[in-house]
Symmetry: C2
């Protein structure tokens, strides 16, 4: 009854490791990110526009208070083009903060 | 009449290359940062708290529209402790975006 070593596809999928920052309380996002790190996965905190400040708060609280061994792997800044209801295209800045458990 | 090669101290001083993001219009900060890059210096865009989103906007507009050769050297996230008028200490997230002219 030997178990086969099948690579777990889920861990390599980007969206599974992402935490999108919106308007909920900060601690909700900190806990969601902490669960990923506790499973040994990297976690990517993503935000757009005014939520970018909130994303940095989440990352810093996580790193300073909850998972002290965690480290920033990469911080990416990009611009996304969004089309609003009037069919106008607007540019919105976005951030992706990738954190490793250690 | 040989000129001595005295290293220019100013270029290595951190504060000279910094652009602190506050409540002024975005383009003021973009222009200030662009002047530094045009002199061949690195520029460091700094912000705290709610201004962090604004700092990312400044960096992205600068890079996408004005100095297309520019690149991010480093993006640092930290937490600063501020004391307010009631002597209460509060933690505030901060960002430093270092940009090189090319």
């Amino acid at each position: 009854m030997s178990k086969e070593n099948i690579p777990n596809e889920n861990t390599s999928k980007d969206s599974d490791n992402s935490v999108f920052i919106g308007k909920r309380p900060t601690m909700n996002y900190v806990m969601a990110a902490m669960m990923l790190l506790n499973e040994g996965k990297n976690c990517i905190i993503k935000a757009r526009g005014r939520s970018i400040s909130h994303a940095v708060d989440v990352a810093e609280i996580l790193k300073k208070k909850f998972v002290k061994a965690a480290r920033y792997v990469d911080i990416r800044l990009t611009t996304e083009q969004l089309t609003n209801s009037d069919n106008k295209v607007s540019n919105v800045s976005s951030i992706e903060i990738e954190i490793a458990p250690k």
